[in-house]
């Protein structure tokens, strides 16, 4: 915090915002389109502050998210760890990617995260029965440029 370059404060605020957004009540029609806010913010920080946000941070956020959503304990942790691991593998390219290319990357990342929770739920016998379960990935990809630009402006301030 003392260091003006340190993104710690921005990280904390953005994750608090993301947590809030993921439990905020929405109209029924928009409910299925709720983006995966925590995953989005996590991907952003993996790309822009990889020394701060890594796998252990993903694990921590996953547990917090599981408590907030009262989902099976550890389910979101698995999903976020998978997402962060893939994001870190592709990190060397994301610096030279255009916004459009990172959007495609985000779509793939969040689909894989969603797939992880899908597998966990299915193993527990609670698997969702239609493909609308994967709609949030599309919604997240659509909202990604906005998240990217607003958070990037914030970090550069």
């Amino acid at each position: 915090m003392a260091n003006p370059r340190s993104p710690l404060l921005a990280i904390i605020w953005s994750f608090l915002g993301a947590l809030l957004m993921s439990i905020l009540p929405l109209p029924d029609a928009l409910q299925v389109w709720r983006p995966e806010w925590v995953m989005l913010v996590l991907i952003f920080w993996v790309m822009h502050a990889p020394t701060w946000v890594g796998l252990w941070f993903a694990f921590f956020m996953g547990v917090v998210l599981d408590i907030f959503l009262v989902s099976p304990f550890g389910m979101h942790a698995v999903a976020l760890i998978v997402v962060v691991f893939i994001a870190r593998m592709t990190q060397r390219w994301s610096g030279i990617f255009s916004v459009r290319q990172t959007t495609a990357l985000v779509l793939v990342l969040i689909l894989s995260g969603r797939l992880a929770t899908y597998v966990v739920l299915s193993m527990r016998g609670e698997g969702p029965d239609d493909l609308s379960y994967f709609l949030p990935a599309v919604a997240s990809a659509l909202i990604w440029p906005t998240v990217l630009l607003s958070l990037r402006r914030w970090t550069q301030r």
Partner: protein
């Protein structure tokens, strides 16, 4: 810190193992893990209250802004409804007393004025694959897991997760939810399960030859662990014969206003099905001895037939209320 690929693998293994262990513990219902989860949940509970605040404030303001004449009219209306309900309760308590006398069961008398606790809905689970409401009472108000929850018309669901000041109610329309019910008209038993569609419940294990009609009322049978008998759950909507299938495909709609009720009743009543079971056995043991003394034969006869018709005569009054 750990940007290198090699280090990453190691951390991946560590974190994944840890979270998979958590998942395993969660599905095996480890006691300390559940306790930990509940503790942590009670820390984030205030957030749910804070989120519900704007909506509640809006409701409060619109309540206080309502005009005097409208309030008076509503008051008069409510008074009338209250009168009607009170009259109905009188009749019901008479019937239940009579029923208790006939069955010589004291438990039936208690079922009319069972203990309820009024709670308010403060939120909905953001996950669309689950039908879960958040209510504003928890373990501090002695709510317990599996407790039945009603609204003014019928069964809404059961408590699924308890926090300190909030709890989560799984609706009967959730795909994980099932209630043992019977058809009010003839006492036939079945299981009512949610389908994930709020307007459609599915009645399972109804044999093809069963006597069932659209419009039949389904009430809880009291056979499960959670729901006491006699509370209305749904109305049969659609019956379809599937060729080659052993059971009918029956759909029903919920009696309770699942998506509109603002106040819910948490019911403090355990099912008491185990009680009537010894009765016929006792009657049988009396009956062989009865011919010896003619005085004891009369009550034994009076009890035995009363067991079967009573659910039919008393129960229809309850759901109409």
């Amino acid at each position: 810190m750990f940007t290198r690929q090699r280090g990453d693998r190691l951390h991946l293994a560590a974190t994944l193992t840890l979270s998979l262990a958590l998942l395993m513990g969660d599905s095996l219902q480890w006691g300390w893990l559940n306790a930990l989860k509940r503790q942590l949940y009670s820390l984030v509970e205030p957030v749910y209250f804070a989120i519900a605040l704007p909506g509640r404030a809006f409701d409060d303001i619109s309540d206080s802004l309502r005009l005097g004449s409208a309030l008076r009219r509503e008051n008069a209306n409510l008074r009338q409804v209250n009168l009607v309900l009170a009259a109905r309760v009188q009749k019901l308590s008479y019937l239940s007393n009579e029923n208790a006398r006939l069955l010589e069961l004291t438990v039936a008398a208690e079922s009319i004025d069972s203990n309820v606790f009024v709670t308010e809905v403060i939120g909905v689970d953001p996950d669309t694959t689950r039908h879960v409401l958040i209510i504003n009472r928890g373990s501090d108000a002695k709510l317990y897991k599996g407790q039945p929850v009603l609204d003014a018309r019928g069964v809404v669901g059961r408590v699924q997760f308890i926090g300190r000041n909030t709890s989560r109610v799984m609706l009967i329309s959730d795909r994980q939810h099932s209630v043992p019910v019977r058809i009010n008209r003839n006492g036939m038993r079945a299981i009512l399960s949610g389908t994930g569609d709020p307007d459609e419940l599915s009645l399972q294990f109804v044999p093809e030859t069963a006597d069932i009609k659209t419009g039949d009322l389904l009430v809880t049978s009291g056979l499960g662990q959670d729901f006491p008998a006699g509370y209305p759950v749904g109305v049969v909507k659609h019956i379809r014969k599937v060729p080659g299938e052993q059971f009918l495909e029956v759909t029903a709609t919920a009696v309770a206003a699942l998506d509109r009720s603002r106040y819910l009743l948490a019911l403090f009543e355990r099912p008491t099905v185990a009680m009537p079971a010894p009765m016929p056995a006792a009657a049988e043991s009396v009956a062989p001895a009865a011919p010896a003394s003619s005085s004891s034969a009369a009550p034994a006869d009076a009890i035995a037939p009363a067991v079967t018709p009573t659910p039919v005569t008393v129960a229809p009054e309850v759901p109409r209320g």
